[in-house]
Amino acid sequence: MRIEKCWFCSSTIYPGHGIQFVRNDAKIFRFCRSKCHKNFKMKRNPRKVKWTKAYRRLHGKDMTQDSTFEFERKRNRPERYDRNVTENTLKAIKTIDKVRSRREAKHIERRKKGKKAQQMREAVKELEQSISLVKAPSVLKEDPSLTLPKIKVKVSQALAENQPMEE
């Protein structure tokens, strides 16, 4: 018994589910349900279909590289049955699954949080460097209120640079 992966959506196929299509070049395509099978028959590329794992991995929506994926590699060597090994494997599966789902959730959270801090930093830098495109530097020197007020940015280097420049 083997738990397969759907060729289209990469979900797990448990025994008794799905259809296996064998092409004449002996390549086997396994599908978890008729939705994936019908999409395949329509010749859709899973990398372009938004709800598949292939799309999500390709576009960085889901975690791609992690050490927990190493445990799920396909092994073709049959292992000799050992009760202790089996017991430990079953326990390990549970913990690895928990760790992986936690890491995936973290990845998505990090992605959703946005890059506000980085965008602020970039905006400050741009304003300081390119304000001369908008206002002439002589005008700026006379009326310092036109320049950017000093915001407490975490990057202390930028502030140190600014102070000698402004004076």
């Binding site: 196929i13 008794g16 589910h17 259809i19 296996q20 299509f21 004449n24 002996a26 329509m42």
Partner: protein
């Protein structure tokens, strides 16, 4: 179990319609409610019955064969069954000539066949390997993948000749 029942029901439904007309794209089109904008029409795959043309995938000399009779099965032959066929197209110098009546074992069928673990297998085309009355293959090579359903039907020789076992 439920999956087995569902597949049997769908097979019965398909065979009833298949006897009349194999191409049911129009029926599917109306039920879907979408105009057939994609090029592939979804076909209902049915049994191998009289007048079904099959590809021959061994080196016995025949190329295309038309089924005359499915031995076993009221509705037709499936993956792994034997059929009686007439050779419609053959290589010029082969063991089998055009017009000969031969037996064949279906090694690839476009209709899905349920496996004992509950999943279903289907192939890309309908293909047959010519055998004699005893069940021994006439040719010496088999091309393309073959299913391991043949082992249960005692066509071990074909499995040994095959390149891939699906």
């Amino acid at each position: 179990m439920a999956a087995g029942f569902a597949s049997k029901w769908s097979l019965v439904g398909r065979s009833l319609l298949g006897g009349l007309n194999n191409n049911l794209s129009s029926l599917l089109g109306t039920s879907n409610g979408i105009t057939c904008s994609h090029s592939l029409s979804q076909q209902q795959r049915t049994f191998i019955q009289m007048r079904t043309v099959l590809k021959v995938v061994d080196n016995s000399g025949a190329k295309k064969v038309m089924c005359i009779q499915a031995l076993k099965g009221k509705k037709g032959a499936r993956l792994g069954d034997t059929i009686v066929a007439s050779v419609k197209e053959a290589h010029p110098n082969g063991k089998v000539k055009k017009g000969k009546v031969v037996y064949g074992v279906v090694v690839r069928a476009a209709m899905q066949r349920g496996r004992c673990d509950g999943s279903e297998v289907k192939f890309d085309d309908n293909a047959v390997v010519l055998v004699d009355k005893q069940g021994q293959p006439i040719g010496t090579r088999v091309f393309g993948p073959v299913p391991h359903e043949l082992r249960k039907k005692k066509h071990v020789k074909i499995l040994t000749l095959a390149g891939h076992i699906a």
